[in-house]
Protein backbone atom coordinates (compact mmCIF):
# COMPACT_ATOMS: atom_id res chain seq x y z
CA UNK A 1 0.00 0.00 0.00
CA UNK A 2 1.45 3.34 -0.86
CA UNK A 3 1.92 6.21 1.53
CA UNK A 4 -0.81 8.40 0.04
CA UNK A 5 -3.49 5.77 0.63
CA UNK A 6 -2.14 5.24 4.14
CA UNK A 7 -2.19 8.93 4.87
CA UNK A 8 -5.69 9.40 3.43
CA UNK A 9 -7.08 6.60 5.60
CA UNK A 10 -5.37 7.98 8.70
CA UNK A 11 -6.58 11.52 8.15
CA UNK A 12 -10.10 10.42 7.31
CA UNK A 13 -10.38 8.18 10.30
CA UNK A 14 -9.00 10.90 12.59
CA UNK A 15 -11.48 13.54 11.55
CA UNK A 16 -14.32 11.06 11.90
CA UNK A 17 -13.12 10.11 15.40
CA UNK A 18 -12.76 13.73 16.41
CA UNK A 19 -16.29 14.37 15.21
CA UNK A 20 -15.23 17.12 12.82
CA UNK A 21 -17.28 15.57 10.04
CA UNK A 22 -20.12 13.09 9.72
CA UNK A 23 -18.81 11.38 6.65
CA UNK A 24 -15.84 11.34 4.34
CA UNK A 25 -16.14 11.00 0.60
CA UNK A 26 -13.31 9.25 -1.18
CA UNK A 27 -12.48 6.47 -3.58
CA UNK A 28 -12.75 2.74 -2.95
CA UNK A 29 -11.72 -0.16 -5.10
CA UNK A 30 -14.09 -0.77 -7.99
CA UNK A 31 -15.78 -4.04 -8.81
CA UNK A 32 -13.55 -4.69 -11.81
CA UNK A 33 -9.77 -4.24 -11.91
CA UNK A 34 -8.35 -0.80 -12.72
CA UNK A 35 -11.46 1.00 -11.58
CA UNK A 36 -12.51 2.92 -8.52
CA UNK A 37 -15.86 3.90 -7.18
CA UNK A 38 -16.90 6.79 -5.00
CA UNK A 39 -17.19 5.72 -1.38
CA UNK A 40 -18.67 7.42 1.64
CA UNK A 41 -17.24 6.43 5.00
CA UNK A 42 -19.33 7.19 8.06
CA UNK A 43 -17.31 5.32 10.68
CA UNK A 44 -13.54 5.28 11.28
CA UNK A 45 -13.51 1.55 10.42
CA UNK A 46 -14.97 2.18 6.98
CA UNK A 47 -12.06 4.43 6.07
CA UNK A 48 -10.01 1.25 5.61
CA UNK A 49 -11.75 0.91 2.26
CA UNK A 50 -10.31 4.11 0.86
CA UNK A 51 -7.67 3.80 -1.79
CA UNK A 52 -5.69 6.19 -3.96
CA UNK A 53 -4.22 5.14 -7.28
CA UNK A 54 -4.03 6.06 -10.93
CA UNK A 55 -7.68 5.26 -11.58
CA UNK A 56 -9.41 7.82 -9.40
CA UNK A 57 -10.84 9.47 -12.48
CA UNK A 58 -14.24 10.55 -11.21
CA UNK A 59 -14.83 13.94 -9.66
CA UNK A 60 -15.94 13.70 -6.04
CA UNK A 61 -17.28 17.25 -5.95
CA UNK A 62 -20.29 15.72 -7.70
CA UNK A 63 -21.44 14.18 -4.42
CA UNK A 64 -21.53 17.23 -2.18
CA UNK A 65 -24.29 19.14 -4.00
CA UNK A 66 -26.91 20.40 -1.57
CA UNK A 67 -25.75 18.18 1.32
CA UNK A 68 -26.66 19.32 4.82
CA UNK A 69 -24.17 17.44 7.00
CA UNK A 70 -20.52 18.18 7.60
CA UNK A 71 -18.46 16.42 5.00
CA UNK A 72 -14.86 15.47 4.68
CA UNK A 73 -13.83 15.15 1.06
CA UNK A 74 -10.72 13.91 -0.63
CA UNK A 75 -9.76 16.31 -3.35
CA UNK A 76 -7.21 16.27 -6.12
CA UNK A 77 -6.54 19.44 -8.09
CA UNK A 78 -9.63 19.32 -10.28
CA UNK A 79 -11.97 18.14 -7.48
CA UNK A 80 -10.85 21.10 -5.41
CA UNK A 81 -11.63 23.50 -8.28
CA UNK A 82 -15.08 22.00 -8.57
CA UNK A 83 -15.55 22.34 -4.82
CA UNK A 84 -14.74 26.03 -5.26
CA UNK A 85 -17.37 26.13 -8.02
CA UNK A 86 -19.90 24.58 -5.67
CA UNK A 87 -19.13 27.11 -2.95
CA UNK A 88 -19.32 30.02 -5.39
CA UNK A 89 -22.64 28.74 -6.71
CA UNK A 90 -24.01 28.33 -3.17
CA UNK A 91 -24.44 24.59 -3.41
CA UNK A 92 -22.56 24.02 -0.18
CA UNK A 93 -20.91 26.28 2.35
CA UNK A 94 -17.21 26.32 3.09
CA UNK A 95 -17.84 25.64 6.80
CA UNK A 96 -19.47 22.33 6.00
CA UNK A 97 -16.40 20.99 4.31
CA UNK A 98 -13.19 19.53 5.56
CA UNK A 99 -11.07 19.16 2.46
CA UNK A 100 -8.30 16.60 2.41
CA UNK A 101 -6.06 17.77 -0.42
CA UNK A 102 -4.12 15.24 -2.44
CA UNK A 103 -1.46 16.46 -4.84
CA UNK A 104 -2.18 14.60 -8.04
CA UNK A 105 0.30 13.46 -10.62
CA UNK A 106 -2.38 12.65 -13.17
CA UNK A 107 -4.75 9.77 -13.74
CA UNK A 108 -4.31 6.93 -16.21
CA UNK A 109 -6.14 6.72 -19.49
CA UNK A 110 -8.82 4.07 -19.16
CA UNK A 111 -7.92 2.42 -22.44
CA UNK A 112 -4.20 2.85 -22.16
CA UNK A 113 -3.23 2.44 -18.51
CA UNK A 114 0.42 3.30 -19.04
CA UNK A 115 -0.33 6.79 -20.23
CA UNK A 116 -1.89 9.84 -18.66
CA UNK A 117 -5.35 10.65 -19.85
CA UNK A 118 -5.70 13.66 -22.14
CA UNK A 119 -6.89 16.24 -19.68
CA UNK A 120 -4.27 15.24 -17.10
CA UNK A 121 -1.54 15.64 -19.69
CA UNK A 122 -2.53 19.29 -20.18
CA UNK A 123 -3.42 19.93 -16.53
CA UNK A 124 -1.91 23.02 -14.94
CA UNK A 125 -3.57 22.72 -11.54
CA UNK A 126 -2.41 19.42 -10.13
CA UNK A 127 -2.37 20.66 -6.55
CA UNK A 128 -5.62 21.43 -4.74
CA UNK A 129 -6.41 25.15 -4.76
CA UNK A 130 -8.39 24.90 -1.53
CA UNK A 131 -7.81 22.47 1.34
CA UNK A 132 -7.78 22.10 5.11
CA UNK A 133 -5.02 19.57 5.19
CA UNK A 134 -2.64 18.17 2.58
CA UNK A 135 -1.57 14.55 2.72
CA UNK A 136 1.69 15.12 0.88
CA UNK A 137 3.99 17.81 -0.42
CA UNK A 138 2.65 19.67 -3.48
CA UNK A 139 3.83 18.33 -6.81
CA UNK A 140 5.43 20.55 -9.37
CA UNK A 141 2.97 22.27 -11.73
CA UNK A 142 3.74 21.97 -15.39
CA UNK A 143 4.01 24.96 -17.67
CA UNK A 144 2.50 24.46 -21.08
CA UNK A 145 3.46 26.44 -24.14
CA UNK A 146 0.22 25.74 -25.88
CA UNK A 147 -2.45 24.26 -23.61
CA UNK A 148 -5.11 24.44 -26.30
CA UNK A 149 -3.29 22.86 -29.23
CA UNK A 150 -6.12 20.37 -29.78
CA UNK A 151 -8.73 23.15 -29.93
CA UNK A 152 -6.62 25.12 -32.37
CA UNK A 153 -6.35 22.08 -34.63
CA UNK A 154 -10.14 21.97 -34.88
CA UNK A 155 -10.38 25.73 -35.31
CA UNK A 156 -8.08 25.49 -38.30
CA UNK A 157 -10.51 23.22 -40.18
CA UNK A 158 -13.03 24.66 -42.59
CA UNK A 159 -16.68 24.59 -41.66
CA UNK A 160 -17.62 21.39 -43.43
CA UNK A 161 -14.63 19.56 -41.98
CA UNK A 162 -15.60 20.78 -38.53
CA UNK A 163 -19.14 19.67 -38.98
CA UNK A 164 -18.19 16.21 -40.14
CA UNK A 165 -15.65 15.97 -37.31
CA UNK A 166 -18.36 16.59 -34.73
CA UNK A 167 -20.83 14.43 -36.60
CA UNK A 168 -18.35 11.57 -36.47
CA UNK A 169 -17.61 12.30 -32.84
CA UNK A 170 -21.20 11.91 -31.79
CA UNK A 171 -22.31 9.09 -34.04
CA UNK A 172 -21.75 6.51 -31.30
CA UNK A 173 -23.59 8.42 -28.60
CA UNK A 174 -26.28 6.27 -26.97
CA UNK A 175 -27.83 9.08 -24.93
CA UNK A 176 -27.08 7.38 -21.61
CA UNK A 177 -26.34 10.78 -20.05
CA UNK A 178 -23.39 9.33 -18.15
CA UNK A 179 -21.39 12.44 -19.04
CA UNK A 180 -24.07 14.60 -17.49
CA UNK A 181 -24.39 12.46 -14.38
CA UNK A 182 -20.66 12.28 -13.79
CA UNK A 183 -20.24 16.02 -14.23
CA UNK A 184 -20.02 17.96 -10.97
CA UNK A 185 -21.44 21.01 -12.75
CA UNK A 186 -24.67 19.29 -13.77
CA UNK A 187 -26.79 19.51 -10.67
CA UNK A 188 -30.04 21.03 -11.99
CA UNK A 189 -33.05 19.35 -10.33
CA UNK A 190 -34.54 18.80 -13.77
CA UNK A 191 -32.17 18.66 -16.69
CA UNK A 192 -33.34 20.31 -19.92
CA UNK A 193 -33.31 16.92 -21.64
CA UNK A 194 -35.82 15.58 -19.12
CA UNK A 195 -38.23 18.49 -19.40
CA UNK A 196 -41.36 17.58 -21.29
CA UNK A 197 -43.29 20.80 -21.41
CA UNK A 198 -41.87 22.46 -23.40
CA UNK A 199 -39.74 19.68 -24.75
CA UNK A 200 -36.44 21.13 -25.85
CA UNK A 201 -34.82 17.96 -27.08
CA UNK A 202 -36.34 14.80 -28.50
CA UNK A 203 -35.79 11.62 -26.53
CA UNK A 204 -34.70 9.35 -29.35
CA UNK A 205 -31.60 8.62 -31.29
CA UNK A 206 -32.25 11.36 -33.81
CA UNK A 207 -28.96 12.88 -34.94
CA UNK A 208 -30.10 16.45 -34.36
CA UNK A 209 -31.33 15.66 -30.87
CA UNK A 210 -28.00 14.12 -29.94
CA UNK A 211 -26.18 17.14 -31.31
CA UNK A 212 -28.51 19.49 -29.47
CA UNK A 213 -27.94 17.62 -26.22
CA UNK A 214 -24.17 17.76 -26.51
CA UNK A 215 -24.14 21.36 -27.63
CA UNK A 216 -26.30 22.53 -24.76
CA UNK A 217 -24.60 20.32 -22.20
CA UNK A 218 -21.30 21.88 -23.17
CA UNK A 219 -22.72 25.38 -23.17
CA UNK A 220 -24.08 24.96 -19.65
CA UNK A 221 -20.49 24.35 -18.59
CA UNK A 222 -19.20 27.58 -20.14
CA UNK A 223 -16.92 29.38 -17.71
CA UNK A 224 -17.44 26.63 -15.13
CA UNK A 225 -15.72 23.60 -16.58
CA UNK A 226 -12.48 22.64 -14.87
CA UNK A 227 -11.56 20.06 -17.49
CA UNK A 228 -11.58 17.31 -14.87
CA UNK A 229 -12.38 14.66 -17.47
CA UNK A 230 -15.09 12.93 -15.44
CA UNK A 231 -17.41 13.10 -18.46
CA UNK A 232 -14.98 11.19 -20.63
CA UNK A 233 -14.09 8.76 -17.88
CA UNK A 234 -17.78 7.95 -17.53
CA UNK A 235 -18.59 7.65 -21.23
CA UNK A 236 -19.18 4.01 -22.16
CA UNK A 237 -18.70 4.73 -25.85
CA UNK A 238 -15.40 6.61 -25.44
CA UNK A 239 -16.67 9.78 -27.04
CA UNK A 240 -14.30 12.71 -26.77
CA UNK A 241 -16.97 14.97 -25.26
CA UNK A 242 -14.37 17.39 -23.96
CA UNK A 243 -13.94 18.61 -27.54
CA UNK A 244 -16.86 20.96 -26.86
CA UNK A 245 -15.99 22.16 -23.38
CA UNK A 246 -12.32 22.69 -24.24
CA UNK A 247 -13.32 25.30 -26.80
CA UNK A 248 -15.42 27.11 -24.19
CA UNK A 249 -12.55 26.96 -21.71
CA UNK A 250 -10.27 28.49 -24.30
CA UNK A 251 -12.80 31.23 -25.02
CA UNK A 252 -13.35 32.11 -21.38
CA UNK A 253 -9.62 32.32 -20.89
CA UNK A 254 -9.17 34.52 -23.96
CA UNK A 255 -12.24 36.72 -23.57
CA UNK A 256 -12.44 37.03 -19.80
CA UNK A 257 -9.04 35.83 -18.57
CA UNK A 258 -10.89 33.29 -16.53
CA UNK A 259 -10.15 29.79 -15.35
CA UNK A 260 -12.93 28.17 -13.38
CA UNK A 261 -12.74 27.31 -9.72
CA UNK A 262 -9.58 29.04 -8.57
CA UNK A 263 -10.93 31.56 -6.08
CA UNK A 264 -13.98 31.39 -3.82
CA UNK A 265 -14.30 35.18 -3.72
CA UNK A 266 -14.74 35.70 -7.47
CA UNK A 267 -17.97 35.37 -9.43
CA UNK A 268 -17.74 33.60 -12.79
CA UNK A 269 -17.68 35.87 -15.87
CA UNK A 270 -21.04 34.81 -17.29
CA UNK A 271 -22.58 35.58 -13.91
CA UNK A 272 -21.52 39.21 -13.72
CA UNK A 273 -21.66 42.30 -15.83
CA UNK A 274 -18.65 44.42 -16.41
CA UNK A 275 -18.63 47.42 -18.74
CA UNK A 276 -15.40 46.09 -20.22
CA UNK A 277 -16.94 42.77 -21.27
CA UNK A 278 -16.29 42.03 -24.94
CA UNK A 279 -19.36 42.99 -26.96
CA UNK A 280 -18.20 43.07 -30.56
CA UNK A 281 -20.88 40.59 -31.51
CA UNK A 282 -23.71 43.03 -30.73
CA UNK A 283 -24.77 45.34 -33.49
Amino acid sequence: MDSLTQKIRETASNILKEGKVEMVIGFAKGTIPMTTKPYMARTPEQTENFIWDKNCTLNLANYITGRKEKIGIIAKGCDSRNIVNHIVENKISRDQLYIIGVPCSGMADKNNPDELRDNCATCTHKNPVIFDVMVAEPVEEQKLDDPFADVKAIEAMDKDAKWSYFEGLLQNCIRCYACRNACPLCYCPTCFVDESGPQWVGKGQNKTDIQTFHFLRAFHCAGRCTDCGACEAACPMDIHVRAFTRKLNKDSLELFGWEAGLDITKRPPLDTFNPDDPNDFIK
Partner: protein, 53 residues
Protein backbone atom coordinates in the same frame (compact mmCIF):
# COMPACT_ATOMS: atom_id res chain seq x y z
CA UNK B 1 -22.40 30.86 -28.10
CA UNK B 2 -21.76 32.04 -31.61
CA UNK B 3 -18.14 31.01 -31.17
CA UNK B 4 -19.11 27.47 -30.24
CA UNK B 5 -21.42 27.40 -33.24
CA UNK B 6 -18.55 28.26 -35.48
CA UNK B 7 -16.39 25.72 -33.71
CA UNK B 8 -18.67 22.88 -34.68
CA UNK B 9 -19.05 24.12 -38.21
CA UNK B 10 -22.21 26.19 -38.32
CA UNK B 11 -21.74 29.68 -39.73
CA UNK B 12 -21.72 32.01 -36.77
CA UNK B 13 -23.42 34.74 -38.79
CA UNK B 14 -26.59 32.73 -38.51
CA UNK B 15 -26.90 33.93 -34.96
CA UNK B 16 -27.14 37.69 -34.60
CA UNK B 17 -27.48 39.96 -31.59
CA UNK B 18 -28.34 43.64 -31.44
CA UNK B 19 -29.42 46.46 -29.16
CA UNK B 20 -32.20 48.66 -30.46
CA UNK B 21 -34.25 51.06 -28.39
CA UNK B 22 -37.98 51.41 -29.03
CA UNK B 23 -37.42 54.85 -30.53
CA UNK B 24 -34.98 53.59 -33.15
CA UNK B 25 -37.28 52.47 -35.96
CA UNK B 26 -34.67 53.51 -38.51
CA UNK B 27 -31.98 51.43 -36.90
CA UNK B 28 -34.44 48.56 -36.65
CA UNK B 29 -35.16 48.49 -40.36
CA UNK B 30 -31.47 48.83 -41.17
CA UNK B 31 -30.41 46.01 -38.91
CA UNK B 32 -33.37 43.86 -40.00
CA UNK B 33 -32.37 44.28 -43.63
CA UNK B 34 -28.76 43.57 -42.82
CA UNK B 35 -29.60 40.43 -40.87
CA UNK B 36 -32.00 39.20 -43.55
CA UNK B 37 -29.42 39.79 -46.27
CA UNK B 38 -26.67 38.05 -44.32
CA UNK B 39 -28.79 34.97 -43.82
CA UNK B 40 -30.05 35.14 -47.40
CA UNK B 41 -26.46 35.14 -48.58
CA UNK B 42 -25.69 32.07 -46.48
CA UNK B 43 -28.66 30.25 -47.94
CA UNK B 44 -30.87 27.67 -46.29
CA UNK B 45 -29.48 25.80 -43.31
CA UNK B 46 -28.74 22.10 -43.51
CA UNK B 47 -27.32 21.56 -40.05
CA UNK B 48 -29.05 21.27 -36.70
CA UNK B 49 -32.42 20.91 -38.42
CA UNK B 50 -34.46 18.00 -37.16
CA UNK B 51 -35.25 15.85 -40.15
CA UNK B 52 -38.37 13.85 -39.72
CA UNK B 53 -37.93 10.86 -41.92
Amino acid sequence: MANLFEHIGVEKERLQFSWISSAEAGKFTNVATEVANTIEALGPIDKFVKKTD
